[in-house]
């Protein structure tokens, strides 16, 4: 590693965080957007550089201000965090590039600098969670990103976003506070906040009961943040009524970062210290994952609003991610991490097409979309690619992660067969709800307004197709995402008995 490379983990957070207050000062129209996009792009490039370093075998370990670990603040980047950093910074950058027209339409000009500032704080917070090496900094970054994302969701013109965001705020705060209680209990017993240090010190503790309670609090708190069924009730409305560009950004990464912390804690800190932890973890989360897939998909099948349909599908997809993790095997976890990446691609593409549509159609209810595909073939083409990836059709990114999920389930014996049945059923339900969109947009006779529709603006369409093609690329040549998630899964599960 040479000079600059060492500082990359801290720059990942500092760049968006320092530009955030400056953006407020940029009043001329367009300037705030340009500065935000540049900062986000820089963060994306840093994430790519970090990923390249991690793939090249580097271990990033950064001590803030030169204070060494148990006393100072340490930052680390390994393949797991690199994978998530790519998703977060990539989603933010693409959403910003594509979202200018949509955001200009939805956010009044005088409030735009403030809005973009909040956007950068979300980015800084999410990146901070991913590089932080101690439990309390994770909490602080989590709250920075959450508070800023409440602002983003509430920023749009739809007043229904307000009650939705209020619910999001209540549940998010309770989740974060549960996490804080758990961290407090661990700190009480071990006297440390550093994750690596905790892992070593917990087994010196004579009475393990508080640690068990802490594991419960932390798991539930983060499950709330990650919208794990049945704690998902804040998600559909928040995603539906948020400004469209915000939905692209948050749907692709916000819940996954909470899952990242959950997996870090359960597999690194608690796994080797609590007897039978992997059994408890699996027995608790696998039923929830199965229910999330079935309930989320069922609701999506009957939903009348396109954006809400995709939000419920997100609930189901979080189920797949958890399902892989709850098998507690290297293959299962690889599938889970892979699905984080692939779902971000698929849902990113789908919500980008929603953004394209929203620029042209007044309402995203199905009856307003009837026949719209004849006028907007490119937009709906991208929607089909994203939809196929969501279903898991061979040749798309979604297929790779579902294939790994099924392979992992085959090792689980009888339970695995049931799991495979759920995966297949969930995918069939996805076929149904994607088909409903296709049927409405292509085969229904157009409403009066639909005949005058025009294709979405070129820049938005280009980014949408870029993401759609990425779905195909990572479906045909998945070596990058596979390598990252494979090494991450192995390092997370190295202590498994």
């Amino acid at each position: 590693m040479n000079g600059m490379d060492v500082h990359l983990p801290v720059l990942q957070v500092v760049v968006p965080m320092l530009i955030a207050p400056l953006v407020i000062l940029l009043r001329p129209p367009g300037l705030a957007w340009a500065a935000t996009t540049t900062a986000s792009l820089m963060a994306f490039l840093i994430a790519i550089q970090l990923t390249a370093g991690v793939l090249g075998g580097n271990e990033y370990y950064y001590e803030l201000g030169g204070w060494s670990a148990p006393f100072g603040i340490a930052l680390t980047v390994d393949s797991f965090s690199a994978l998530l950093l790519l998703i977060v910074t990539g989603a933010s950058t693409l959403a910003l590039f594509a979202g200018k027209a949509s955001l200009d339409a939805q956010i009044e000009a005088p409030r735009q600098p403030l809005f973009y500032s909040a956007w950068l704080l979300v980015l800084a917070g999410l990146a901070g969670i991913l590089v932080a090496a101690d439990a309390f900094n994770i909490f602080v970054f989590m709250e920075i990103s959450s508070l800023a994302s409440y602002i983003l969701v509430a920023g749009g013109p739809d007043r229904r976003a307000l009650p939705a965001v209020f619910k999001y705020l209540l549940m998010g705060t309770i989740g974060a506070t549960f996490y804080l209680i758990g961290v407090g209990l661990v700190y009480m017993m071990t006297g440390t906040l550093n994750l690596a240090d905790m892992e070593l010190r917990i087994h010196e503790v004579a009475d393990q009961k508080p640690i068990l309670v802490a594991a419960g609090f932390i798991t539930i708190g983060l499950a709330l943040k990650a919208a794990v069924f049945p704690l998902h009730v804040w998600l559909p409305n928040a995603y539906t009524y948020a400004p469209h560009a915000v939905t692209v950004f948050l749907a692709a990464c916000a819940t996954k970062v909470a899952l990242y912390v959950l997996l870090r804690f359960d597999f690194v800190v608690f796994q080797q210290n609590l007897a039978g932890h992997e059994v408890q973890f699996a027995a608790f989360l696998m039923p929830l994952a199965v229910l999330a897939i079935l309930v989320g998909s069922t609701v999506a099948m009957f939903e009348k609003n396109l954006k809400r349909l995709l939000a419920y599908s997100s609930v189901a997809q979080i189920g797949y991610i958890l399902l892989g993790a709850s098998m507690v095997s290297v293959l299962g976890l690889t599938a889970s991490l892979l699905h984080m990446f692939n779902h971000a691609l698929a849902k990113g593409a789908l919500f980008l097409t929603v953004m394209c549509l929203a620029l042209r159609v007044a309402d995203l209810n199905f009856r307003h979309l009837a026949g719209a595909a004849r006028q907007m073939p490119w937009t709906f083409g991208a929607l089909i690619v994203g939809g196929l990836s969501l279903i898991g059709v061979p040749g798309t990114a979604g297929f790779i992660s579902k294939w790994y999920l099924v392979t992992a389930a085959l090792d689980e014996g009888l339970l695995g067969i049931a799991v495979i049945a759920v995966i297949v059923l969930g995918s069939l339900m996805a076929v149904v709800y994607i088909w409903r969109i296709v049927e409405t947009a292509w085969f229904k006779s157009p409403t009066e307004g639909a005949a005058t529709l025009t294709e979405a603006p070129l820049p938005v369409l280009l980014v949408t197709w870029l993401v759609a093609l990425a779905n195909l690329w990572f479906g045909l040549a998945p070596s990058l995402s596979l390598r990252l998630s494979g090494t991450a899964a192995e390092s997370l599960l190295q202590h498994l008995p």
Binding site: P163, L170, I174
Partner: protein
């Protein structure tokens, strides 16, 4: 007696549940926010109590101290940060309630749902 001796943990648990009850059961949005604040305050107390060392004083080193016993300052510092987070959450929450009042003309949850259903 051991149960009573741990009274500060009882305070924590009871306060936590009062706050949680308010969040779940109240329909007035401001009351819900009060509940959240109580909920967070309970956790602050948990951290503060755990840092107390029997006979310990404020962790400031002065001349002439012989074998000083200090309370652990770290949880106090942590909770200072958490208090700031709590204040921001409450402020943002109240801000949203004001906007809800402007848009809907009410801050009762069931009335808002009623208006949205129409």
């Amino acid at each position: 007696m051991e149960l009573l001796g741990l009274y500060h943990y009882w305070v924590f648990a009871v306060l936590l549940m009062i706050g949680f009850y308010a969040v779940v059961a109240k329909v007035n949005l401001v009351k819900k926010l009060i509940g959240v604040s109580l909920f967070q305050a309970a956790v602050f107390l948990l951290y503060i109590t755990m840092s107390k060392v029997t006979g310990g004083t404020a962790p400031i080193l002065q001349e002439g101290m012989v074998d000083p016993v200090f309370s652990n300052p770290l949880p106090q510092v942590l909770i200072l940060t958490a208090i700031v987070v709590g204040i921001s959450t409450t402020a943002l929450g109240l801000g949203i309630v004001v906007r809800i009042k402007e848009e809907y003309g009410t801050i009762e949850e069931h009335e808002i749902q009623e208006i949205d259903r129409r």
